[in-house]
Amino acid sequence: MNFSTPPYLAQNVSVQRVMLQVLAALLPGIAAYVWLLGPAVLVQLVVASACALAAEAAMLRLLGKPLALYLGDGSALVTAWLIALAFPPLAPWWLIVVGVLFAIVIAKHLYGGLGQNPFNPAMIAFAVAIVSFPALMSQWPPVDTNAGFVDQLALIFGLAPRIDAMSGATPLDALKTALKLGEGSVSVAKIVADTSTYGQLAGRGWEWVAAAYLLGGLWLWQRKVISAHAPFAFIGGIALFAGALWLWNPAQFANPLFHLFSGGTMLGAFFIVTDPVSGCTTPKGKLIFGFAAGVLAYLIRVFGGYPDGVAFAVLLLNICVPLIDLYTQPPIFGMKGKP
């Protein structure tokens, strides 16, 4: 029997379209990335996508779910792309594979697949990788050493030895290390002036990548794929804390703009804290989620043990989502101003 149910009308929307729009919004950021660091990241994107689709297909088969229906929804691709963009571009291929497998198999399908995972799969991948392979995960190629594509390929696929020249650190990491070694005797201004790692706002050229993510994010917002609550609360959280500490001691703490345009801030704000599945759903909840994630990300990147804190901050807030949602349910029709 054709079990048809009201309403018999429906808007022309689908999960696939939502996901494709998210992928599209990532393109400007990817373009800037390629321009800055060479095409290595494209290789990573391909590796991650292929692995994600394969893992997704395998899990769907294993769990007896309709393959055609789910494989095309694009959510695995979003996860894969975010992983590829969050990992160092010259990380060995197997590192990304491990990350993607963790994300798709454990973080997503053990919880029943799309829409049911309490944790952000891409961030699980990142956390697993940085905890397990901190050395590989903190080596970023310096912006200037634009090695040829072939060299990059060789590095990714382990055909060439990993040399020190290829392993710098991100501006955030470098600044943190420098401050730590300086033991209060050097100021941020001096460090930033000293080396060539730092550009106008954040790392040399990195601000362009961040700006491109911002652009894509704003487009998503305009298309109503995401709501503005979480991203802006996230940015606000980082800016507030960075600003306060910077005002208090500009020698030891970088200015807020540096923090907004370096590391994973922009990618996180528009593509990660907005993940509908693992994030909060109520407006107030989204504000709390974004703000607290921003604050935690800042604290972890400045005081904690990892160069950037977006992934851990998001995961920590993922833990709190059910309770935040529970306690921030907006009053329903007719119950405003009443308990």
């Binding site: 079990f3 149910t5 769990l63 007896g64 779910k65 309709p66």
Partner: protein, 183 residues
Amino acid sequence: MLTAILIMALGAIVLGSALGYASIKFKVEGNPLVEKIEAILPQTQCGQCGYPGCKPYAEAIAEGEAEINLCPPGGQEGVRKLADLLGREVKPLDAEEKPKQVAIIDEQTCIGCTLCIQACPVDAIVGAAKQMHTIVGALCTGCELCLPPCPVECISMARITENIDSWKWKYPVIEIKQLKRVA
């Protein structure tokens, strides 16, 4: 060694007397858990759980003596609720789930012996001695306890069928693939 024993013995006396004193002073009767459990049981009073009624079964569960999956009228749903209440794992019901039934007396055959009235735990049968008996459908819990005592076997069970008022909306989609997997 002696100090050790002395110090520990001191502690023992203090704690021991405190505990002994409190165990009498703060004695509490009754068990609120039993009531909560009983509220979940279907009150069919059929004894299929192996206990003479729902309350004894509730007491046995509260004591930790009985499994939670013994009540067939409660069904799997009842097991789930008990598991929820008691924080135990859900277990499959220890019997087949039966459809809901009511007892019907074939009035032509009934001899008015009153034996079924005595058997019915919930007073669902009316009638007087040597007169015809009848079962009030709305009150009958379908426990089947009136079947065996009837000397002329005039009582039978009928399935309750759905009508427009008791009709329920069905679970929307049956994910066929999913089902197969579970099976």
